[in-house]
Amino acid sequence: MTPFSFEWHWNVDYLVFMGLLYIALTIVACGLIYCLVKTWMDLSAGESPPEAPPEQLIYRTRYQQY
């Protein structure tokens, strides 16, 4: 449901309920877009995947190396 739907009412119930949903979805979407853009920038910079990740990176399977 969006504010353009015919069932939408401009009251606090709809604003809180749907607002929180759209905030959560926006955060997830922004996170994904950030990752995609950063990946594209990393690839454009011509970086090759390091054999061992740099120390400051927290990497799930390899975190014990740090």
């Binding site: 449901m1 979805l25 997830v28 990946t39 690839l43 995947p49 799930r60 399977t61 975190y63």
Partner: protein, 412 residues
């Protein structure tokens, strides 16, 4: 044959043995597939659900796996937000278990709603005052978040990691995992709570109805607390089962002990509040409804033993075991306590769904009984089969346990 896909430095069984291991789980999936086909093709008359039991076995499975899958969001919260570093050894397993639980629950709901083709109605024509709508929104969004949390683990597969695009994408996702973990915590908090709230607001059913704070009945908070207490226990149980089957040590004791200790305090707090809630219900809501405690347990197979089993045997006992450091360090006691906690939570959800609907609410009502059909069991068991299959595949091809290599050095 599949050795290039297996993580480096670890040992796995032969493909033939692995195929044999997957057969029972494929069998359960086939049973579920036939049941799902019948339910979708012929309709919900294939089940023993009725106007009385609109919520039945599938919802018991749903609520149980959602509570048990809470280990994913809670372990993520402890790891990424609170900063419990030792839990990084178990977070991958917790995420996969959570993903299995939530995707299984959503798949089961797809059959339960009867007409999955209209499943989107709940999102588009949302009733913003409905707890069930909030549950649907949060579960769907959280499954999406769990999928995103699962992606970096998949991309760490030996062959996929060689692809630069996937390598960088997985790494970048992992860098901002705290954002997804925080969003997941927010979504989980509300859907776990609303699942409980849904029962607490059933004012026409004194067995489930509760008082509360503002729009949230006490069951809202109790469901959250019980889920975050039982979720880590289920993660520990699955890890211990994987260790038993693979005959390897997969997670350092420190990670398991941290989870068990946190779970102990949460379970103890839950038990105190649950007992207070039960007493409040017993001396408040029940007499106000003109009933007595024994009126709820007079008929059918659901006697007072349910209360004793849920509160004492599967609540207070495991809380005490987990709170004693010497007891939780002992493998047998730890598994017993985790098993009892998980059983208690399943029993709690069963009581709120099936027993609640079976008990008569009017003087002229009768006790209603319900037994699931083989089709209903088939769908439920398919989730179990799917869980075993996905976890087995993940364990075989992905570095699920980061310390496995160090804990089990392979001699050349």
């Amino acid at each position: 044959m599949d050795s290039p896909l297996i993580p480096e430095g670890v040992k796995r069984c032969s493909p033939k043995l692995f195929f044999l291991w997957t057969l029972p789980w494929l069998g359960l999936l086939a049973w579920g597939g036939i049941s799902a086909f019948l339910c979708l093709y012929k309709g919900l008359n294939q089940t023993n659900m009725s106007n009385i039991f609109a919520f039945a076995l599938w919802i018991v499975f749903d609520l149980a796996v959602i509570a048990l899958g809470a280990g994913a969001f809670f372990t993520g919260f402890l790891t990424y937000i609170i900063g419990k570093g030792e839990l990084k050894n178990i977070i991958n397993a917790a995420v996969i278990i959570g993903f299995i639980c939530y995707s299984g629950a959503v798949a089961m709901l797809g059959i339960d709603i009867g007409q999955p083709i209209r499943g989107w109605f709940i999102f588009w024509h949302a009733n913003v005052h409905s707890m069930l709508v909030e549950v649907s929104f949060c579960i769907t969004c959280y499954l999406m978040v769990l999928g995103i949390e699962f992606i970096p683990i998949i991309l760490e597969n030996r062959q996929l990691d060689k692809v630069p695009e996937l390598h960088f994408f997985g790494h970048n996702l992992h860098e901002i995992m705290a954002v997804f973990a925080a969003t997941g915590t927010f979504l989980s908090f509300f859907h776990q709570g609303s699942l409980g709230g849904m029962y607490g607001v059933m004012y026409a059913r004194p067995f489930a109805a509760r008082g509360g704070f503002y729009v949230w009945p006490w069951t809202f908070f109790l469901f959250i607390l019980s889920a975050i207490a039982a979720g880590p226990c289920f993660t520990i149980l699955c890890t211990k089962l994987a260790e038993k089957i693979t005959r390897k040590k997969l997670v350092p004791d420190r990670a398991v002990q941290t989870l068990a200790k946190i779970s102990a305090w949460l379970l103890a707090s839950y038990m105190v509040l649950k007992i207070a809630d039960t007493l409040g219900w017993l001396y408040g809501i029940v007499p106000k409804a003109g009933l007595q405690f024994m009126d709820f347990y007079r008929e059918g197979p659901y006697g007072v033993w349910l209360v004793v089993a849920e509160l004492l045997i599967c609540g207070i006992v495991p809380a005490i075991i987990l709170m004693i450091p010497k007891a939780r360090e002992h493998g047998g006691w730890l598994i017993t306590a985790c098993l009892l906690t998980c059983t208690g939570i399943v029993l709690n959800r069963f009581v709120f769904i099936v027993v609640n609907l079976a008990i008569p609410v009017m003087p002229f009502d009768r006790f209603w009984s319900y037994l699931p059909t083989w089709q209903e069991w088939g769908i439920g068991m398919a989730v179990v089969g799917y869980g075993f299959l996905l976890f087995s595949l993940a364990y075989r091809y992905l570095p699920v346990f980061p310390m496995e290599k160090n804990l089990n050095p392979v001699s050349e």
